[in-house]
Subunit: 316 residues, 2 copies
């Protein structure tokens, strides 16, 4: 099959053997996949990953032990877990000590004709969500993780830092919980997409009211955290969504003095994400910048790295 | 009166005018004061403070509008607040926007013959707590802040990093809530003080079981945070007690991946601290390294900066 393979910080589309599903795993024919900033970080050496990239996808199950899955259009959770370790038993499977992660850690990913995933990771894609919508399930779930970790009320004042594809999803999901929200970004046209949905926005160099109850750091830059510290109120919460390995120089006395809570936030729940996407409560199609074929997947990654790009899709 | 005055990173004992209590303030004759690492940081430029140092004290009220206070032996909370701003109204007075802080911010401190504080900041010192015990109320309250912020159960596994005077108090307070605790330090004789109380200890270069539910960072060093990240479990909590302005280079992807909660922690409640000190549930007299007179207060600071020192007291 064809696959976009990362090897020592080089990516190329290559012919590789079809993946063989292990016990409990389904074989999925990928229909469409999305490029995430994490993919770009992986190419820069993040996690030391080598293999097939890609973890956002929608596909068709071709083989599965559960006959009800075969032929179904699915999306999939990316953490493949042991179900036996301490953290799995503590109902924290995303932190399984023995996990592999689709296209990120010890498991080939979705920029390929086929992938395998445990059947328990798969969710049926609602018919009302087209491929170019359903493919957003994984990053939308990551945005829903925020409201799983922080119980927002409609009195809470929230700032989302970052108007990129993750910041946009975070802002839309938070907007379902509080209207007292402003998204801060650098790109007028990206902020306009949020304004169109009735979400308040501000450019990064505009003054933003300080003293936010919650600041979501989704800039994708190691510089976002310092800004978050400026904007959050004492005893407020900063949610960190950005994963960059670039070391950040921090004066940790500021969060101590202000008794700030800083909360790392990663993968999230698929069910509310699927519901929001199928009902249109989270709108994603304006976020699509470009679509490439799998044969041109290396170009898709290049395109996704350009500053004016949002979501770049790969069609198999 | 005599006072230890910080001026442009220089400290000296000087004659200064007696402080004049403002409306609502008491005049307190200081009996004894304690040197905190924060005092040493202030001398290095932290907070840009100039004035009389010192914020841990026990003293006698000489003037107060409340006649029941006059002549009483007291300790005092260090944040002097407006009672009207947004954060005061939100019952977060320690984060008052218009606050002054005894010996730290816009208010002369306790290394002096006299200090003034709002009467509402004062607490009667129990007769059962001698001066060299009651003087520990403020840092003991800071340790109690941890258990106010993090609801510990006796199943929680806790690591305290740092065997200095703050680490010792944190370990003792946490030990009241869970026996599943280890304090990690660099000084066998300091750790021995905790062992004497039945608290488990480990030297910094000894292996410590990873996967702690809570790690308290009280090393006083900018290097402690990285160790805390190694030891805390996914979705666990790091409590930051250290205030150093030295920038810390951090790979923030680690707390994101592990969804760690990082909690800044500063001043705490005086009531449980006074109770614990008066009942002997927290033992502080073994922590006293040396006592200097106010005339030699500059030497007290020098002594407190030496690596083998714990609490240095100043007797007026």
């Amino acid at each position: 099959m064809r696959a976009l393979v990362l090897s020592d910080r080089e990516v190329r589309v290559d012919e590789v053997p079809d993946p063989q599903p292990q016990a409990g795993e389904a074989l999925v024919k990928v229909l469409m996949a999305g490029v995430c900033n994490t993919d770009l970080e992986l190419v820069r050496g993040y996690m030391g990953f080598n293999g097939v990239l890609g973890h956002e996808f929608v596909g068709i199950v071709e083989q599965a032990s559960n006959p009800h899955l075969v032929g179904k259009r699915v999306v999939g959770e990316i953490n493949c877990v042991c179900n036996t370790c301490h953290y799995c038993r503590m109902e924290m499977p995303n932190h399984c000590l023995d996990r592999s992660v689709l296209g990120i850690l010890k498991r080939n990913g979705a920029f390929a004709d086929y992938l395998t995933l445990p059947e328990e990771n798969l969710h049926l894609a609602p018919a009302s969500a087209r491929d170019d919508v359903a493919v957003f399930t994984e990053p939308t779930a990551a945005a829903f993780r925020i409201v799983e970790q922080v119980k927002l009320t409609d009195n809470d004042r929230v700032v989302v830092l970052g108007d990129g594809k993750l910041g946009q999803l975070c802002a839309q999901v938070i907007h379902l919980h509080t209207k007292n929200l402003v998204c801060v970004g650098k790109h007028p046209w990206k902020l306009q997409l949020l304004s169109n949905l009735g979400i308040k926005t501000a450019l990064a160099d505009e003054p933003v009211m300080r003293g936010a109850d919650v600041v979501v750091e989704a800039t994708g830059s190691h510089l976002g955290f310092e800004r978050a510290l400026e904007l959050v109120r004492p005893e407020g919460t900063i949610v960190l969504k950005t994963t960059v390995t670039h070391p950040t120089a921090l004066d940790l006395s500021i969060p101590v003095i202000n008794e700030v809570t800083i909360l790392g936030s990663r993968c999230g729940p698929f069910r509310p994400a699927l519901e929001a996407l199928s009902l249109g409560n989270v709108g994603v199609r304006p976020l699509v910048t470009d679509t490439f074929t799998l044969n041109d997947a290396d170009q898709a990654l290049q395109r996704a790295a350009e500053p004016d790009a949002m979501k770049v899709l790969i069609q198999m």
